[in-house]
Symmetry: C2
Subunit: 341 residues, 2 copies
DNA sequence: ATGAAAACTTTACGCGCGTTAATTTTTGGA
DNA sequence: TCCAAAAATTAACGCGCGTAAAGTTTTCAT
């Protein structure tokens, strides 16, 4: 089979002029059906495709879309990224996936590199508290960006995420209705802004129900939540810090660590009579089904969050990169009852 | 601050000619220290960077490196990818991360798209059995590729992975030495070629030790290993298929499912006297530390596998994309004793 | 068949940078 | 101080494609 060097050559072989071929690659429907057929016929025979670098150089806007998540080793983000990737491909874009790996410098570097890719748009789940606001602000000023998962006030053209209040209110209400009111278990200085909203929601719901909020904060930095939850839980259990037999974890990965600690200490967790503790959590992490016991948790509406995020980005791109007003869309949680509470 | 449009403009502002500036960006050491200083000074003031598309168009070889893993939602691959990414960046390359998400079509599409990126090299962890060999072969013929994790006979310029025999021999020997010989628990048709090598190693080691191998194969397709392990274990436990109180799982994710099933059935797993079953596994998955009980497993030499992979790719790139002979490098496992066996 | 609109062809320039060749300037050792 | 080597400058072309302008052919309703 002949090796095609460039569009000129391919155009000659297909018997169509280069500008028309160029037009075809832009939008196959923009040429006459007969010429389209001839081009596609040649395409089958010769396996040519336009040089992406030459194409992108000459377009003001590329078909690239950046997807940035804070921590890809967390299967939650891996799943979301998967969905976003597929949606972008389906819409004819070329997604590029990046993980900040929990580090501000990396997040900055990624955004920096992303700018020189002239992307049509970016889906950004920022680190949160540890993000460099000024860097993100500058980035969003230059690149059409939709924030998801973690909201940074006023940054990006829109935000799509989960309604943290809905998460916590459902778990707290369920636990109090079927047992004792829970203590709230979290990291002392959570990186993710969702954590702060969950704490506030916990306090509000508890007070509304007439209970005294009881928050347990454990030490630890970074994104090794299981480890932090594990260590923290061992301490909590040793010092008997629980006021009731009921615990609500800020997120599932902390809960996984907590459950491991309980298991080691021989403390049975669950809602059955022979259990000493009930534990619920938030997120519905992909592994939550396989913890011991399986984890009762408030599930993100993955599909809607991811789906709406790409939809919003596409709208943003079609609107020329700017919205009149910044919108925030929150999807409620769905309570998933399993064995731990 | 002035917006710089192109290298011409930047060169003028820095008082250096464009070809010299171009040379600088290729290799800062290739210009005289004084001119380098002048360029870098201007660089501070004006924040210019070369247009990557124009650069890549005019270089035969880009500075791009593709990293392809079969399933990014598996934290094992996420961690490896993280390491590979960082190493590439440190060496001055631009890594792009892709996940095949367990699907052949996607793997093919990724390789397809990768080709038009003219990457300097690619680090590929193929799907394995479900890979389209011919597609990968064609790809490797065009792009300098180092395979890792899953070996495909003869494909790629080199392979770096783990020594599956070392994994299984250590776990089997440990279990027999401290208790009963294990049954081997695996998927009926594993996608990953490592699984087959592990089975063979199990048989060989068992026979050498004078025990009869006993393999339990469970149904299930795809990459939802926890689910498959869970269902399979429930069946195995219900039908009492175990011959001894000892099980070796082909990999940790299956083991996670197995442990969940045991927990549900009230079967205590561990090496203590009050336990009914001992369970060991392979991989040292990032979550293996937090299972209930924590998982005794043979750990990949993550650092060496990842480190050697990038090293090998860099050598390959410097050798012009071809090695005289294809090499296979296997790193032995390290037995990690935890509570499950 | 006719004529205007639609689609295509030809021609040519531009994008930003790599790269080469010929020329000029700078450097550093004798 | 001088001179050869090293480095920088100037000038110019090429990469593969987007795109615009002007001219030609095809299409389709009348």
């Amino acid at each position: 089979m002949t090796k095609i060097k460039n569009m000129e050559e391919f155009a000659a072989l297909s018997g169509i002029s280069r500008p028309t071929v160029s037009k075809y690659f832009h939008d196959p429907d923009s040429v006459r059906p007969t010429t389209r057929a001839r081009i596609e016929e040649a395409l089958e025979r010769f396996d040519y495709r336009p040089n992406i670098y030459a194409v992108n150089q000459n377009r003001k806007l590329t078909k690239n879309i950046g997807i940035v998540v804070p921590y890809l080793a967390d299967p939650f983000f891996a799943e979301i990224a998967r969905y976003l990737e597929q949606s972008c491909i389906a819409a004819g874009y070329r997604p590029s996936l990046f993980s900040s790996h929990g580090e501000q410098k990396l997040e900055n570097d990624i955004l920096d590199g992303l700018q020189s890719m002239k992307p049509a748009g970016v889906l950004l789940a920022p680190l949160g508290r540890t993000s460099d606001q000024s860097v993100i602000e500058r980035f969003c000023a230059n690149v059409p960006t939709v924030l998801f998962d973690s909201n940074l006030e006023g940054l990006g053209a829109a935000f799509i995420g989960s309604d943290n209040f809905s998460f916590v209110s459902q778990t707290v209400e369920y636990m109090t209705r079927t047992g004792e009111p829970p203590s709230f278990f979290e990291m002392r200085t959570p990186a993710n802004p969702n954590a702060n909203k969950r704490r506030k929601a916990y306090i509000e719901v508890m007070e509304r129900l007439g209970f005294e909020p009881h928050i347990i904060r454990v030490d630890g930095k970074g994104w090794a939540f299981e480890e932090i939850g594990h260590k923290g839980a061992l301490k909590v259990l040793a010092e008997n810090e629980l006021r009731t037999n009921s615990v609500l974890c800020s997120n599932d990965r902390l809960a996984i660590g907590f459950l491991a600690a309980c298991y080691e200490q021989g403390i049975r967790v669950g809602r059955r009579d022979d259990c000493a503790l009930r534990l619920a959590s938030n997120d519905d992490h992909p592994f939550a089904k396989f913890t011991c016991p399986s984890l009762t948790t408030a599930a993100h509406d993955y599909d809607n969050v991811a789906g709406r995020s790409v939809e919003t980005l596409f709208e943003l791109i079609e609107s020329g990169g700017k919205f009149e007003t910044r919108s925030e869309t929150l999807f409620p949680a769905r309570l998933v009852l399993r064995d731990s509470a």
